[in-house]
Amino acid sequence: MSAPAPIRLKICMAGEATVGKTSLIRRYVLDEYDDRYIATLGTKITKKVMSVQDPKRAGPVTVHAILWDIMGTPTLRDLLKEAYYHGAEGIFAVADQTRKETLAALDAWARSIRSVAGDIPTFGLVNKKDLDPDPQFAAGEIEAFFEKRGWPWLCTSAKTGVGVEEGFRRLAETILADRPILKPDASGDGPRRPS
């Protein structure tokens, strides 16, 4: 039996500025971290080939993840939402555990993305686990936030790498479990969800 065709997935990073979206991609793709903050302007696309367990085939499948790193400027979010989110199949909703307000802000990001891409899988990443959490967080507040929305989540640190690999793998598996079985496309890049 031949190996299944690779599957292409568009995954968008969402969240406020400086929560660590770019650093998480950099850690996952290059296994690197840089302490200097450089604000993302516009769009950065990174491709990563992953081997993921396909829940529908009970075996591994190759995923070509197209990671869209998007600037965290809320004032431009709705203006740019079609440009960024059209065809997205999964969202990383990224918050910073040292700034409580970045968690509540995820609702607006998710709403904007879903208004374009539909009810696609969303995975929460609470980043900067290597730093002390914002003391304004009540015990259990982060867990309750994600549970209420039905989004799986993890604490991560782009600096140390904790949780990063697992987060990307789990979102890809969730997308594969959620997506309809599609015919391979003619491009040789594997099946895509119709946009």
């Binding site: 004032t75 740019l80 065809g87």
Partner: protein, 89 residues
């Protein structure tokens, strides 16, 4: 604890364009800032410059479609949308 200061996007764009007038990321955001300020035609002009510099800039054709539709230019909007389908990864 020091209060967190949100970086000002417009300031960053200006700095980046002073360093390099053909910085496509900064030009893309400048187009968005123009449109956000109601200067949609100016936004399209800047976006056309982005697309001359990098015809495959991610999201630029779809953003151009959005801006044309905001101006009621549906045919130009559809044309830009079709280009996006061809070039996006």
């Amino acid at each position: 604890m020091t209060a967190f200061v949100q970086p000002d996007t417009a300031v960053i764009v200006r700095q980046r364009l002073l360093e390099n007038a053909e910085d496509v990321d900064a030009l893309f955001v400048l187009a968005a800032l123009h449109a956000h300020d109601g200067l949609v035609a100016e936004g399209i002009t800047v976006l056309d410059r982005v697309l001359r510099l990098d015809p495959a800039y991610p999201g630029a054709w779809r953003f151009k479609a959005t801006l044309h539709r905001m101006r009621g230019e549906n045919e130009a909007g559809q044309s830009a949308w079709d280009r996006a389908e061809d070039v996006e990864p």
